[in-house]
Each structure stands twice: as C-alpha cells, then as structure tokens.
C-alpha cells in the first residue's frame, strides 16, 4: 500500500541503492570470468586450482575421449613446428602431466641420433677407438644437453606427470617445478623455447603470463601457445558447439565423475579471445613475427612469436 501511494519515492530509493551497490562493486576486487560465471580474480585462481585438482588423475583419459585422440596429433604438430635441435632448453608451462615434455625428449633424442649417424658417415677413415667413442657419446649424452622444465601451478597435475615419467622411463633432462605462470620462479633470459599447451586460458591475467614468457626467454627465443580457439567454418562451428555442450560434460560425469569441471572447460574455451585478438596480445608483450596456424579448422590454434 505504501509503495503504491508513492511510487516515485520507491523509484528514487531503488536508484540510490543501485548506486551504492555499484560503488561498492568498484571498490572491491576486479571481476573476471570463470567459464560463463562472473567471479572475482582471487576466486578464479582458486576455482581453477580445484578443477584441475579434481581432474588430475583422469586428465589423460578425458583428453583422449573428448578430443577422440586428436589432442595427440595437435601436440605432435606443435613439436614439429618447434623443430628443436639438441641443446635446446624448453620451459613447458601449465604442462602438468608432461605430454609436451615427453614428446620433446623423444624428438630431440631422434634428432641427436640422426646427427651422430651423419657425423659417422662423413668421417671415412675412423679408427675403431673413434667409433667406440662416438657410441659412448651417444650413450652418455642421448639428448645432447637438451633440457625441459615442466612448470605447473597445480601439485596434483605434477604428481601425475612424475608418475607417468617414471612409468614410461623418462628420467634425464626433465625437471618438475611448481610455479605460477603470472610470476615464474626463473631468472631472466634462461630458456630457448617457452610453450604453454591448453593452459593459458586458465590464467587469470593472460597479459602477465605473456610478459613473464618474454622475460624468461633468451634473445631469439620462441614463444609457442597451443590453445582452443574460434572455429571459422559455420557448419563445423554448430556441430562443435553441440558436441561441446551436450556430450563433453556427460563424458566428464561418466568417466571422471565430475560434470562441473568439464562444463567449466567448454565454457572457458568460448571465453578465450579469438586468434587475431590473442595475436595482438602477444605482440603487445613485445614478441615479433607473431603468427598463428589453425588446426582442425580452428578448433585449435598454435600461436608463435619470437623475442628479437
């Protein structure tokens, strides 16, 4: 009754309330997105940590079932594009379960073998001693001084990665470090290549992560990012949306027992900036010759930049 008697008063009161809430919002911490939800920045970090803590044990199985095995091809393409030579120091950020690191080690090992074979071919008159020495060298330095450091903010993911490494027999040239992509625990200009595969969309401040990447890379070093991106084909885009929102969370529930985490996953993919925008962000961090390559019609894109 009172509200009806003086509607204009109620309206004014309402507007004042809105204004108060607005200023309070501004004074509070900045907001960001967590999938399609809006959360504060501190919350996002925690929530992402929880997501990956929950999925860590089933991470690889889920990757295979969600992408129908395509993620292996994408990661192989990334390595082929990197084309590392023996002696390269790789920093794999958000590399939790070690997929990129293991592929790197395999690649470098085979390149090194080929190099040693070529060297033998060139030297026509080798004494038996020299041949034996070269085999020794191959045994002692199979990676040729290459090293990979796997850095992840989530201890559970790293744990799973270390177990995998033990199982598959990777021991040399591999280190596991806990660290935040926005504030890496490494000195300046230490690494030849910095990769971040399917990790950067989970970072709260992507620009800070890019700046850190710039900092830790040597001059001439390369930044490579493998990430889900915007599909450019309209028909495929509809199918992809259907698959993402209807099937993936269900798979998540069946296989990993966690619907929400996989809902977050597909939502975070939609929130990530498209190829050109991300390329501009990389250029802003100071990288040159920035370029991207679409895989599978844009479902995944590899962005590359150089610190020159």
């Amino acid at each position: 009754m009172a509200a009806a008697v003086c509607p204009c008063r109620a309206l004014l009161g309402g507007r004042r309330r809105l204004l108060r809430a607005f200023t309070r919002g501004l004074a509070a911490s900045k907001e960001t997105h967590f999938g399609f939800q809006v959360v504060s920045e501190e919350e996002k970090g925690e929530k992402v940590y929880q997501v990956f803590e929950n999925v860590a044990k089933k991470y690889d199985i889920m990757n295979d079932s969600m992408s129908l095995g395509m993620h292996r091809v994408w990661k192989d393409v990334l390595l082929h594009k990197m084309n590392p030579s023996p002696g390269t120091l790789l920093l794999d950020v958000a590399g939790g379960t070690g997929d990129i690191a293991f592929r790197f080690i395999n690649y470098v090992r085979s390149v090194r073998e080929r190099q040693l074979r070529q060297k033998l071919k060139h030297h026509q008159n080798l004494s038996w001693q020299e041949i034996a020495d070269s085999y020794q060298e191959e045994a002692v330095k199979p990676l040729g001084d290459s090293q990979v450091v796997v850095c992840d903010i989530n201890k559970e993911m790293l744990k799973v990665g270390r177990q995998k490494a033990q199982q598959l027999g990777y021991s040399e040239g591999l280190s596991w470090v806990v660290g935040n992509a926005e504030e890496l625990p490494f000195g300046d200009e230490k690494f030849d290549v910095y990769t971040i595969a399917f990790g950067i969309r989970n970072v709260t401040h992507i620009d800070l992560a890019l700046q850190e990447a710039y900092r830790v890379l040597k001059p001439g070093g390369r930044f490579l990012c493998l990430e889900f991106s915007q599909v450019n084909n309209p028909l495929l885009s509809r199918l992809y949306d259907l698959y993402s929102f209807q099937i993936i969370p269900v798979l998540g529930e069946i296989i990993a027992g966690d619907w929400k985490s996989y809902q977050y996953l597909v939502e975070s993919i939609r929130r990530f900036p498209p190829q050109e925008e991300f390329k501009a962000m990389i250029e802003d961090a100071g990288f040159l010759k920035v370029d991207y390559q679409n895989l599978t019609s844009g479902i995944v894109a590899i962005h590359s930049g150089f610190k020159l």
Partner: protein, 294 residues
Amino acid sequence: VRCQLCPPARALQASATLRRVSDEHKKEPAASSSQHQFDSHPTDHQPEQEPRGPRPSYTGQGGQESEDYESEEQLQHRILTAALEFVPEHGWSAEAIAEGAKTLGLSAAAAGMFHNDGSELVLHFVSHCNTKLSEQLEQEQKLVQLGETEKKTTDQFLRDALEARLRMLIPYIEKWPQAISILLLPHNIPSSLSLLTSMIDDIWHYAGDRSTDFNWYTRRAVLTGIYNTTELVMIQDTSPDFEDTWRFLENRVADAVNMDSTAKQVKSTGEALVQGLMGAAVTVSTAARALRAE
C-alpha cells in the same frame, strides 16, 4: 586500451611505433609483420646512432640494441648470411640456420622463423650471388666506358659473366645438388624462376642486347639453357679448377653464337632461293605462253 596492459616502457614503445605491413609468410592465414623502420643502414655503418626521441629502456636489453634498430627482414638477412658458413657441414637446412643464429648471439630457436627445409637459405644465397654479379658487370661496364679496358665480343662477355657467376658456387659445390633440388620444390619455383630470369636478363643487358623483337626471348631462353646445363656439368666435374666445365661453357656459347649467324645465313639463302625459283617460274610460264601462241 592496449597501452594500459603493458607496464614495461619498451613494450609501450614497441606497440606505439610498430607499423603493420602485410607480409609474405607462407603459413595458413596471412600474418602481418611489424617492422621497425628506424634506419635503412645496418648498424655497423653508423656506430653513433641517435635514437629517435627518449628511449631509456632499450639500453637494458643487453646486446639486443642492434636488433631493435633494424627491421625484422634485416635481422633475417643477417642470420641467413651467418648461416652460410655452416652449409658445407650441415647442408642447406634448418640446422645451418640455427648455427648461424647462434653465432649472432641469438638462441637456436630463432631458426623457427624460417621454413623447416632450408628454402629461404638457398634463395637468399642465390639472390646474393645475383647481386654480386650485377655489381661486377656494372663495374666492368664503367671501366669500358672510361676507356680503361677493351670492349669484349659478345661470346667472350657471356662466357666471362657465366663463369664469374658459377665460380660463386665453388665453396658450396658439394651441397649444391641439394640446393638445386630445394629450388625445384613446387612452392619455391616462382621465386627461383624469377631469380634465374632476372639474372639472365641482367647479363644480356650488360652484354649490350637492345633487341625489341622475338630475339629478346630466344636470346634469354638460349642463355638460360646454357647456364643450367653448365651448372649440371659443374656439380659432377672433378677436373682441377673445373677446367672441363669452362671448356663446356665455351663450346656452348660458341654454338649459340654460331647458330645465330647460321640462322641469318639460312634466312638470306632461303630468300635467294625463293627469288631464284620465282624467276625460273616466270621464265617457264613466259616460254610456255610463247610456244602456245605459235
């Protein structure tokens, strides 16, 4: 808006002074490269360069100063030039480019800027040789104009020009077959063909060819044929200082020049023959008419 995201001053500078130019990248979507158009001269020519405006943060990049004052293309040229000395060992490949980058103080990962198969290295080398050849021919022409040397005959000129150009391959002759195969890859053919034709065109230009008829094409086609065949002879030549190759070259050029004069002779003979036949035909027809009239 973008500036707010970049606290370090150098990144601010980079995005403020970058000029986006469309680029000849081979990747799927065309990338736009950003060029630093600070100075067209390479840094070693001007040791005391003045930076444009205040740029305090550049000094903190430890050895990278030189790179920031040149465009990316110039840096790429420098890397490729440095990579050439590793070609005899690693071939025309990404490894040679990686070694070249390392000598410039850059990480080996910088070789990722180029194609994995070493195409850019070969094309860079060929273009460099062609430029050197043009400069040499221009110098010779100046000397002739000043009257300091005699003008050469066409065949001597062609022989010397081709020999000079082929001699530039000698340091890399062992790996040259690999380079030829790289130049013949489908995605390289446009560039390699254009380099070849412009070189041949240059040589004919300095040889004094001013033809405006079909001769222009035949001359270039013939010389291209001579160059390619001589190159193939050279890569399997084991004689001291490639004597066999130069003799082969001499014979081919002589053939070509002979063919030219033979062609002219044939033409004039043919014309004379035709005229003779016409005369005979007229005589015969007149005689026949005279006989019929009787």
